[in-house]
């Protein structure tokens, strides 16, 4: 068949849409480069958790609190969840900056579908979360923490899984707050999540009031599940309910705001 005549309906109809809604590797690679260029993101998600871990782990024997020893491994997992949370939230919250700059609108003039865009943002958030976990675990390994190899792997994967919950949270906040400094707005919230969810100090060592609030905080379930391969004992179904509940809440909220944002009005 000969090529359609230029300028005819046939020629216009013959133009193709991109595969996978425009989702592609080049886009991801340039996004990674852009993330690394952002000094604040790098400091916040890679350096802060690392420093916090070095401060909190104390020495090889761990820290004493209320007569109980918190092992460096327990602290490391908590901080890894913290890093994954910070990284994924700020990754997701990048949509806020991109909306404020009009980049999202610019992308709507291209074949990139909104779903492909969100998929790229979630992937970037999870990648940043993974990097943060790996940094904390590398420092942990060099500071003499000893765990069975399978426990290293399982706890790292579970800590990383936290980034999915918080990528949704970041997207939700990103669509909610039209600001170029969205992380400054949600930073304190993340701090409260971390304290009450037992990331720095395990929940059972927190003051009674905080212990009562803890199960309702989004980090509670993910932190407990991430430490489970290390600590063992009884598995509390509340942990799983917490994870599923917050994933659903953040996911649905992000989806609702995303729909509102991309609806052709």
């Amino acid at each position: 068949m000969s090529a359609p005549l230029p300028g005819t309906q046939h020629a216009f109809d013959a133009r193709r849409r991109p595969p996978m809604g425009g989702f592609n590797r080049t886009f991801l690679l340039i996004e990674v480069r852009r993330l690394l260029r952002n000094r604040r993101t790098v400091v916040l998600t890679l350096v802060v958790p690392a420093i916090l871990f070095l401060l909190l782990k104390s020495d090889r024997r761990g820290i004493q609190l209320a007569g109980t020893v918190i092992s460096p491994a327990t602290t490391m997992i908590g901080i890894a969840v913290y890093g994954a949370m910070l990284a994924a939230t700020s990754g997701g919250a990048m949509v806020s900056i991109e909306r404020a700059l009009g980049w999202s609108r610019q992308l709507r003039l291209t074949p990139l579908t909104p779903i492909a865009y969100i998929a790229i943002k979630v992937l970037m958030a999870m990648l940043l979360g993974l990097t943060s976990v790996l940094v904390v675990y590398t420092i942990g390994a060099f500071s003499g923490i000893e765990m069975a190899p399978i426990v290293w792997v399982l706890t790292a994967v579970l800590a990383w899984a936290a980034s999915f919950v918080f990528a949704s949270f970041g997207l939700f906040m990103g669509y909610l707050l039209p600001s170029e400094n969205v992380m400054q707005a949600i930073g304190p919230t993340l701090g409260i999540f971390s304290l009450f969810g037992g990331l720095f100090i395990p929940v059972n060592l927190l003051p009674a009031v905080m212990q009562n609030i803890a199960p309702f905080v989004p980090t509670y379930g993910v932190a407990a599940i991430a430490r489970y391969p290390l600590l063992g004992g009884a598995f509390d179904p509340v942990w799983l309910i917490s994870v599923l509940f917050w994933t659903a809440i953040f996911g649905l909220a992000a989806m609702a705001l995303f729909r509102r944002d991309t609806r052709r009005t």
């Binding site: 300028g7 309906q9 216009f12 109809d13 849409r17 886009f27 852009r34 009009g102």
Partner: protein, 312 residues
């Protein structure tokens, strides 16, 4: 015209040429404001048309509907024989919007590469950089680019899919004179290859200098549509001056298209929508000499058509 009508018919015959843009009975309100209040617009392929009007005339609202960024409350919008969103996903329309829309922490080249990656097929990165006149600043961060450079970057992005229709919304707003000239040079060079271009502007001289056709908007309606010369004539026509002793005011006023006749001694000043007939009459049937025909400039036409003391 007939071909374009055929293209809209069911079945879309493959070899016909569709309209570049077809708006029919389009209305769009925002609360109590009728931003677009009944627009019919038919743009043929290859035309370079300007949407001219004061702020609030409905230019951006019209463009947003052509780009599929918003939907009309009433009426239909077709671009190249298909829905705007369909044309966007096939890379058939591209747009350069006023401001924003760029990531400050990417370089110029990265921005182009990133955008190129989402199209099924795209022109080479180096080619669009060169055609937009920014091949020398590929490694510069967007935040370090001037307003004019950023606008040429937006133009480079718009060139990527090799679109059949290029839409520009106030593309030179906020640029200095030199930036505007460079920008339009790039656009003109590109349009010479047959691309359809629709641009909104409130700079009269831009519409006059770069468009084959001017569509004048006022309060959400088209008040004039034609070549720059036609639009000029629509409002005030031209003035014809001549030396004519003993001119007869009544006879002159009765000529076709004449709107006013002023007699000052031997000089007559006639405002007419049909200056040719007036000149023909003066030279052929009277003793008039020193006949001058002066066109009103577009600015006067613009003010006459969009002003009327009503808020634009």
């Amino acid at each position: 015209m007939n071909l374009a009508v055929a293209a809209e018919a069911p079945g879309r015959p493959a070899t016909t040429t569709p309209a570049a843009v077809d708006l029919s009975g389009v209305h769009r309100t925002f609360g109590a404001i009728r931003a677009v209040d009944g627009i019919d617009l038919h743009l043929e392929l290859g035309e370079i048309a300007a949407l001219l009007g004061p702020n609030g005339a409905g230019k951006t609202t019209t463009i947003d509907m052509i780009l599929g960024l918003s939907q009309p409350d009433q009426g239909t919008v077709t671009v190249l024989g298909m829905a705007p969103s369909e044309a966007i996903s096939r890379g058939l329309i591209a747009a350069v919007l006023q401001t924003g829309g760029l990531l400050k922490d990417l370089t110029v080249r990265e921005t182009v590469r990133l955008t190129a990656s989402v199209f099924a097929t795209a022109r080479p990165v180096d080619e669009v950089l060169e055609r937009a006149g920014i091949d020398g600043i590929g490694d510069r961060l967007v935040r370090a680019c001037s307003g004019g450079e950023q606008q040429r970057l937006r133009f480079a992005l718009a060139l990527l899919p090799d679109p059949a229709l290029m839409v520009l919304d106030e593309p030179t707003a906020g640029m200095d004179v030199e930036g505007r000239r460079d920008f339009w040079t790039a656009i003109r060079r590109d349009a010479a290859q047959g691309r359809t271009v629709l641009f909104a502007t409130h700079y009269l001289e831009e519409a006059d200098a770069y468009a084959d056709r001017i569509i004048l908007l006022r309060q959400g309606r088209i008040v004039a549509d034609g070549t720059a010369a036609e639009v000029r004539n629509l409002s005030t026509g031209r003035s014809v001056r001549a030396t004519l002793p003993d001119a007869d005011q009544a006879t002159l006023s009765a000529l076709p298209g004449v709107r006013s006749v002023e007699i000052r001694g031997d000089r007559v000043l006639i405002q007419s929508l049909d200056s040719d007939s007036v000149a023909r009459y003066l030279l052929g049937s009277t003793a008039a000499h020193d006949v001058e025909i002066v066109a009103h400039n577009l600015e006067e036409a613009f003010l006459a058509l969009t002003g009327d003391g009503s808020p634009g």
